[in-house]
């Protein structure tokens, strides 16, 4: 089901463009010419179209050569922008990516995971995007390309700027998510809390990447929490306190959670979210650290 069928408005003389380039240069050239709604799996765009938010031009990136799939090299793991969540679940990846895989299994339903892409999840910039915390915990970077300025790479935490807001310019396209090799030795875990077992918007979620040294002390720690602030947040104070600790000595304090600012909503109060985040951090760290 392709979203543009819905807008069968030829009779109504609505100017609707739908571009589906097969290489990056064509895509970037197209983006120079007009404002496009970039679309991959369409799992966020399509419901919005049903609500009547019909853009006048779509750019489908799923046919662009080299935009899907996971490759290694140059000190990074490169996850192509159009890689689906199912691709990630099925890929053979080091234990550092276990948390990302666990999150991939919680993005919507299996059908959504088959269509939805990693870059789509980031560009949609929902506070409850399940993909963001594990990528923050992997210290992910976002690779962005434009015809005018070539390629730039920036940290994921800089890429997402707010609710539904990113730094992406109108002529830019996300081409890949890059994971530095520094993360490779770590182990990871992802925790999600919702008011039902599956197919649920997260009330709170946490990802942790942990590396233990030979003595069983934490040598590397990255922890990120989602759905508890406009943009998912790393917890630097917690990460710093974890270094040198054994797993059995791990404690998470409310001070560690200071980057979070959860709101009250119908799914749970802000107080509850903070409580839950505290416990989730602990569980994620312990599970990630456990061999």
């Amino acid at each position: 089901m392709l979203p543009y069928y819905h807008s069968y408005t030829n009779d109504m003389e609505v100017d609707l463009a739908f571009e589906r380039p097969d290489n990056l240069e064509l895509a970037l050239d197209a983006l120079k010419t007009r404002a496009f709604r970039v679309i991959a799996g369409g799992t966020d765009v399509f419901p919005a179209v049903q609500q009547g938010q019909l853009p006048s031009a779509f750019l489908d990136v799923t046919r662009i050569a080299g935009l899907g799939g996971i490759t290694r090299g140059d000190g990074t793991t490169r996850i192509g922008a159009a890689t689906t969540w199912t691709d990630i679940v099925r890929a053979e990846l080091p234990a550092a990516f276990d948390g990302l895989k666990e999150a991939a299994r919680e993005v919507g339903s299996v059908q959504i995971q088959n269509a939805g892409t990693i870059a789509g999840n980031l560009c949609n910039a929902s506070p409850a995007a399940d993909g963001v915390p594990p990528l923050l915990a992997l210290d992910a970077r976002v690779e962005i390309a434009s015809a005018a300025r070539g390629t730039r790479v920036l940290a994921l935490s800089q890429f997402i700027q707010g609710v539904r807001k990113t730094t992406l310019a109108e002529d830019e396209l996300v081409t890949a998510v890059l994971i530095p090799d520094q993360a490779l030795g770590t182990r990871s875990a992802f925790e999600k809390l919702g008011s039902r077992r599956y197919l649920v918007i997260s009330i709170c979620m946490t990802a942790a990447n942990i590396l233990l040294d030979a003595q069983g002390r934490i040598a590397q720690a990255r922890v990120a929490v989602g759905s508890c602030s406009a943009v998912a947040q790393r917890l630097p104070a917690l990460e710093a306190d974890l270094l040198g600790k054994r797993l059995q000595d791990v404690t998470v304090s409310t001070a560690h959670l200071s980057p979070l600012s959860p709101i009250d909503d119908v799914r749970g109060s802000g107080t509850y979210r903070l409580d839950a985040a505290q416990e989730q951090c602990k569980r994620a760290i312990l599970r990630a650290g456990a061999v």
Partner: protein, 744 residues
Amino acid sequence: MNVNSTVIGKPISRVDGRLKTTGAARYAADHRPVEGRPLHAVLVKSSIASGRITGFDLSALQSMSGFVRFVSHLDGALIRTIKNPVDGAFAAGEEYTPFENDRVHFVGQHIGLVVAQTLEVAEAAAKAVVVDYETSAARIEFADPTAEVRQPDLYNTGEELQVSRGHVEAGLVEAVEIVKATYTTPIEHHNPIEPSATLAVWDGDHLTIYDATQGSVNDKNYVAFGMSVDPKNVRVLNPFIGGGFGCKGFTWPHTLIAAAAARAVEQPVLLVLSRKDMYTSCGHRPYTEQEVTLAADADGVLTATRHRTQSYRSLVGDHVEPCGMTTAMLYQCDNLEVTHSVRVLNRPSGTPLRSPGEAPGTFALESAMDELAEKLGMDPVDLRRRNHTDIDQRNGRKWSSKHLLECYDRGAEKIGWGRRKAPGQWRDGNDLVGLGMATACYPGYRMPTQTRLTLDRDGTLHVGVAVQDIGTGLYTVLAQMVAERFGTSPENVRVLIGDSDLPPGPLAGGSMTTASVAAAVDDGCRALSEKLRARLVDMGHTPGNEPLVIDGGALRSGPLSVPAAEVIPTDVHEIVAEGGSDDTYGFTGGVETDKSFYSFGAIFAEVRIDRDFGIIRVPKMTGVFDVGRVINAKTARSQMLGGMTFGIGMALMEETFIDDKTGRFVNPSLGEYYVPVNADVNEFDVEMLDIPDYDFNPFGARGLGEISNVGASAAIANAVYNATGIRVRHLPIRLDDLLEDLPR
């Protein structure tokens, strides 16, 4: 009745299963007129909660290629004024005439309809309609002090809503323990997977409607009245319905609007409601606030009961959520007061939603019973046994058949009630574990039903009745009933339902279809049997007294065996007999009887609560039900599984939020209105006692379905209390209700 039947009670798979699983079953919106394509229609709904429409700006529509017509109150009397829709031969969801005038009573009211060549153009045009309003003060908030408060006398069944007996105050004085607490239940929506849809096709002054309705006969009569045509000229077809749960029970304005629009444009019109439309177009369960007082002596015997329900109604719909009706009936108590009041608000209309009254009412009553047991230091099951009665407390009549004590015993045994510990004391790893239970009950209803039984020359039996299978398994149940009466297998029976031209039957509501058709099928089979015997005698045969068996293409009676093709004269293709019953049970004007008819049950739930997050899981639920004879063990069990799943949703997830400022529902989609997913449902243990109630009908079935979510939410809430020591008196129970006070 052959109690050793090879057909009745057997877990026979749905006879329509293949059609449904292969997509061959056609639902309302799947149908097309015999000739041509239908025009597509999209509703224009009010965006204000109160006021009047001062005009429509349609300028953007005129240039849209494919736009056909905009219909509204400005078109004059498209629909005949309906004054008392519930008094006549039909029941409507709302007591007003669509498009009658410029008044707006709630957000989402249908104020116009766009008809276009394609759905896409219709959608675009509906969005392009600019409505000018003059708004007036709206009463939206439940507690609005200026809202009119009414105390309605009767529920739509004719049951009294204000009940008083004995002296509650005196009963309170006698008591050693009193529980007085207020319980609330949220707005809930039905959310059937198939949205409501109507295809209206006129041929002169004859109208055919393919409608997603739970009642084709009611639909026919309502539309005929509104369109000012003879009901004989209206035919409603609803062979398959994708769930209803009450929102397709009474006929709602959209059906009438589609019929009126089709007449106005002189072409067939197809109107399919969107999911969002469904939230304001065909009812919901209103929010309830229930104050329950239970008083008991030292032995746990109830000395006083009071159940005061406050709810609301819209300005144009008279639904009352009858929460206290169960309370007036269930436990032995001489001093009782049950009241219901409704506030009149600028909100969309309520309507019955699976177990109206019983489901929210038993959440309050059965939670209060649990609280009382706790205060008395008594086992909750024992407390219910102490107050058990063989007399219907409303009218002093004996029950036709009541085996509730067995339900308690079996349920307690199956869930392992003996494992239950004091509140907050049962821990398993990081989990708190608890057990809870509640009584379930549901009235036995029966409505007049007629049937047509036919034998054709192949020896195939046909049964026809204007009832409908809303997913419950009625096709299969009817085949089984007829097969049973003629000693054959259900494959030899063709079932015709879902067509208002068939002999009339009731709408699918109140879990009453099986009991209603049972009496009619029995009589129809008797009539056909008599006709066939007379025919055999005419042919010179002497059939014995043995029951007439029709199997393998032949009629047999004792040693006699005659091929159907010989029995049926060559100048006709079939022999037809009609039969039925005009009896009503459970509603006003019912049969005079010294018995009361009710189904009973006991629901037990085990919950596990993560101590750190307050996540509530339901690893096991046990339901034991006394619902009379079960006709099909498989479809009956499916009904019970569905109802208990509803119970989990009601207890832990389901809630529609309304914005008190604008009167809009905030989460009108399945993405934001949570119902349980498969992963939330674990072990369900369902048992039906299967004790026939032949006082109710010749098949002994009392009907079932709704009873399985009655008490289910209370059982879960009581289990949550048992696990944590925290009493939550509102639904749904949220994760953050528990966290602060959880025993760590």
